[in-house]
Amino acid sequence: MRHILSVLLENEAGALSRVAGLFSARGYNIESLTVAPTDDPSLSRMTLVTTGSEDIVEQIKKQLNKLIDTVKLLDLSEGPHIEREMMMIKVRAVGEDREELKRLADIFRANIIDVTDTSYVVELTGASKKLDAFIKAVPEGLIVEVVRSGPTGIARGEKGLTL
């Protein structure tokens, strides 16, 4: 099953490589990983998407918790949560395609954030599946480049993943 894990890490040099090293050394799947400092600059928050049997995911969580730099870990998939990913997609936009792409962006509530005579950059935020759907919806041959942030997530409700 797919799990989305949120990890608070000490914002130390090398903390990221410890996580990456753990996954490669133990042969765990890693679908995506995003990391950035939090409002407390001494902490980073990492969101990690992984897949595996329940036993493996249990081990992944234990191993992540075991890292000395890990302050807290939450498996968002265990409760109601919100998942968001950001995508910027550069498309070729000439002639009739310009209108078509604009309409598509509107339907998906995406923003066109860069325009040239021949191209758009479209920005879209949402659940990863929505991003996948947008990519599928773009007419064949128009995609120049896709950049995705990888998912980040937060639990619903008033409780927070804080110290």
């Binding site: 890490l9 000490e10 040099a13 090398g14 490589s17 410890r18 090293g21 050394a25 036993d55 249990e58 081990q59 234990k62 191993q63 918790n65 075991k66 000395i68 730099d69 890990t70 302050v71 110290l163």
Partner: protein
């Protein structure tokens, strides 16, 4: 007090109560060596190879329970130390390794003797640090000792760039007495609810087995373990790493379990209905094929590291906590219950176990005119009266020692189990002998293993360490030859140790005593003579039967009930 970075390193070791540092100098650590020179509180032991430094610090830690310390230079010094670091890591041994690094301004420029020590060691340490600022040095060293020795112990590397130890820069020194880390809080006590569940299961058990491991020794749980075993009357077996935590001469002890474990221990594992695992990690050498592992058992597992629990085998009653306190709670709750397990069932179970014991799975040919390695270990036991610190290298000799030298105390059997590092034995014995200068310390080894750290004989001479090397010389990498005999139709590919040195002369050339024994009748006398030389390092080259194999044996991928007992006695 204002100190330089180098002085801070040394002062921190003093404040930490460190007796010995095992090390080898080089450019990046010269400031530290200069600071060592100017004091006499911390004793430095000059090894002859950095691998020796790590194993010696490791042996010291295993024998004393204290943290071992080593100091090596950057680049090749650090890479030479890696095998020893990984060895300590696999067996959860507390060691702090100080490595020199090139100065911070040139890190990343492929400077002379630069390697990414933090990167190279990351997968085989509990944690590591790169000290970027002398102001952080004292606190990082404190953290290193704290992390290495608490929770599930392990090695911690502190990488110190040369400019951090600059002799021209002084800063105020303060060594924190205690340290707290928000990201690291090892469990201090087991969950009482879980322990109660375990006690209930223990009281319901009909065919129980207690299976203990290195964690009982690491966590100083031996005393309470003895109480538990006596209180319950249950049979107990141990992994290679846990030997001595419970007296091996006691009737309730079934011998080691696993690949080369006893018939009675492995059969009891196969038939048990309640397995009580304590400080053991269900290693593949122990479980054999997982599908056949303890097929009838409810499993209780006590371990301080949550990631050890349900890693290889799914357990029914997990208890995360340090062995000593969990066992105390367990014993207390059992006493409070005032109930007993099913005595009649337990008596039947013991009858069954005695039947298995009756197979005498460790029997060997006592009439041979060659020295059998088993006989050599038995004689070693007889001569030393069980009062030995015995370190080991890796191979058949290690297994024979585990099977035939019954340890009655913890921290007496010192060997590399998880990594299985040939070359471990001799340097580890140095650490043990320094920790206990008056104790009898021996290293059991093979002619292949001993050559991997043979240079440490010079260290033994320099510090006059009266270690006894007992070499079971079979002329082969015996353990490899055994596998080739069983699984490769006796094609002994590169396992014959050709062109061996004359070990007697070799020992003598290092300034030691060398002796050779070739006949069974001479062995006991030779050993008595060797151990009689209390202030000399003696190298005893024992020529043993080259064809002997270690039995019982469970082949890889087989279950506990599928043991080979000997060539003559195959089980169905």
């Amino acid at each position: 007090m204002e100190l330089t970075g180098a002085e801070i390193v040394v002062q921190a070791l003093i404040d930490e109560g460190v007796e010995y540092v095992f090390g080898y100098p080089g450019g990046a650590v010269l400031h530290i060596y200069d600071a060592l020179f100017k004091q006499d509180r911390v004793k430095h032991i000059l090894v002859r190879h950095e691998q020796g430094a790590t194993h010696a610090a490791d042996g010291y830690a295993r024998a004393t329970g204290k943290c071992g310390v080593c100091l090596v230079t950057s680049g090749p010094g650090a890479t030479n130390a890696v095998t020893g670091i990984a060895t300590a890591y696999m067996d959860s041994i507390p060691v702090v390794i100080l490595t020199g690094q090139v100065p911070t301004p040139v890190i990343g420029s492929d400077a002379f003797q630069e390697v990414d020590t933090v990167g190279i060691t990351r997968p085989c340490v509990k944690h590591n640090f790169l000290v970027k600022e002398v102001n952080n040095l004292a606190e990082i060293i404190k953290k290193a000792f704290y992390i290495a020795t608490s929770g599930r112990p392990g090695p911690v590397v502190v990488d110190i760039p040369k400019d951090v130890t600059d002799p021209n820069r002084r800063i105020p020194y303060h060594y924190p007495r205690e340290i707290r880390m928000r990201s690291y809080n090892p469990v201090q006590k087991g969950h009482l609810g879980q322990i109660k569940k375990a006690v209930d299961a223990i009281l319901e058990a009909k065919r129980p087995v207690i299976y203990t491991g290195g964690g009982v020794i690491l966590g100083e749980g031996s005393e309470t373990l003895r109480e538990l075993v006596k209180l319950t009357g249950f049979p107990i077996t141990s992994t290679l790493m846990g030997l001595g935590a419970y007296p091996m001469t006691d009737a309730q002890f079934l011998g080691m379990l696993g690949m080369h474990g006893t018939y009675e221990a492995n059969m009891a594992m196969h038939e048990t209905d309640t397995l009580i695992a304590i400080g053991a990690r269900f290693d593949d050498r122990v479980t054999g094929k997982i599908e056949h592992f303890c097929p009838h058992a409810k499993i209780i597992h006590v371990d301080v590291d949550p990631s050890s629990i349900s890693k290889n085998v799914r357990v029914d009653i997990p208890i995360v906590g340090p062995v000593a306190s969990v066992l105390q709670d367990m014993v207390r709750l059992l006493r409070e219950q005032g109930r007993e397990a099913d005595r009649a069932a337990l008596a039947d179970w013991w009858t069954q176990i005695e039947q298995w014991r009756g197979m005498k799975c460790l029997a060997y040919d006592r009439t041979s005119d060659k020295i059998k390695p088993q006989y050599a270990v038995e004689t070693l036991y007889k001569v030393t009266g069980g009062e030995l610190y015995l370190t080991s290298d890796v191979g058949q000799h290690q297994m024979f020692a585990a099977q035939f030298y019954p340890f009655d105390k913890p921290r007496r059997w010192i060997n590399s189990g998880g990594l299985g590092t040939m070359g471990f034995g001799l340097p580890a014995a140095m650490g043990v002998q320094l920790a206990f200068p008056d104790a009898a310390v021996a290293c059991i080894s093979g002619e292949a293993s001993i050559l991997m750290c043979i240079q440490e004989m010079a260290t033994c001479k320099q510090y006059e360490l009266p270690i006894k090397v007992v070499l079971l010389n079979n002329g082969y990498m015996g353990m490899v030859r055994q596998w080739q005999e069983f699984f490769y139709e006796s094609r002994y590919s590169h396992s014959y140790v050709d062109a061996l040195p004359d070990f007697v002369k070799l020992a003598e050339s290092f300034g030691h005593v060398g002796m050779r024994v070739e006949r069974p009748g001479d062995l006991e006398g030779a050993m008595r003579e060797a151990f009689g030389m209390k202030d000399r390092f003696v190298f005893l080259d024992v020529i043993v039967d080259p064809t002997e194999n270690v039995y019982p044996m469970i082949a890889a991928g087989k279950g506990h009930h599928e043991m080979h007992l000997s060539p003559e006695r195959e089980l169905a």
